[in-house]
């Protein structure tokens, strides 16, 4: 068993785990009750899911410039995912589309 086999194996595990996380994100998108909770599913397990898929592809390809492009994809994912989630969340929150307005508490009075 050589290092390429190890890299292939780890890459396959990463691909599988990433795909499962993306699947869970889509299921969450369907099952969560309102917009804000759906934002969690739409943006979140996907972060790690996409990263794992990219790592998996990188481990299978193993060529410098391809890995560079994958790093680029990952970096732009990490930069843009919070922006889109934040914009949708804020638009919904400010226009009152979030209903019912759930418990709003200011956790400033936390004593620990």
């Amino acid at each position: 068993m050589s290092w390429t086999d190890v890299a292939d194996g780890v890459g396959l595990v990463c691909l599988l785990a990433g795909a499962l996380l993306c699947l869970s994100a889509s299921i969450g998108l369907l099952r969560f009750p309102d917009l804000l909770t759906r934002m969690h599913a739409g943006t979140k397990p996907q972060v790690l899911g996409v990263l794992l898929v990219l790592i998996g592809v990188g481990l299978r390809l193993r060529s410098g410039l391809d890995v560079g492009m994958l790093v680029l994809i990952g970096a732009f994912q990490l930069l843009t995912i919070p922006v889109s989630g934040h914009m949708i969340g804020r638009a919904a929150y400010r226009t009152g589309a979030v209903e019912p307005v759930q418990v709003r508490l200011t956790a400033d009075d936390d004593d620990t």
Binding site: L20, H40, A41, K44, L65, G89, Y93, R104, L105
Partner: protein, 175 residues
Amino acid sequence: MIRRRVQPFPLLWLTLVWVLLWGNVSWANVLGGLALGFVILMVFPLPRLSVGMTFRPVWFAVLLGHFVVDLVRASVTVAWLAVRPGRPANGVVFDVRLRGRDELLQSVTAEMVALVPGTVVIDLEPASGAMTIHALDVHDLDGARRIHRQILGQEDRVLRALATDVPGPTTEERT
């Protein structure tokens, strides 16, 4: 005007992106990237970032390590919330007051909080540092306090890694 608009670092970065997108290093790609970066920076000038930041490698490694652990743990939690049988999870909206006043570091904190599953940043008021959060699967004050502490801890690590002067602990600032 050219000197003000075309800064060396963004130009190199745009060239690097261009070369990576083409997927091979050749003179045509490098020169093409430089030319394109030049045009982009002339047409869309970037504001010069006033970076009052100090880079501390050890604390930065702590920040990244902690972030990866958070990311994995929270991803698994949210994935389970999505697929577990029964009533799906609900969440609450609340405010967290950040300690730092530097807008750039506030955005770094907000980005990292937004990337970790379980919390969505809805709003951020830079002047007061008030960040509005939606937290998943929180049902009571204790749960909200837990998230609150997590976010302040996250900000603490960001400040330790990057802030020029680290503000004192929260308890001293509170009046």
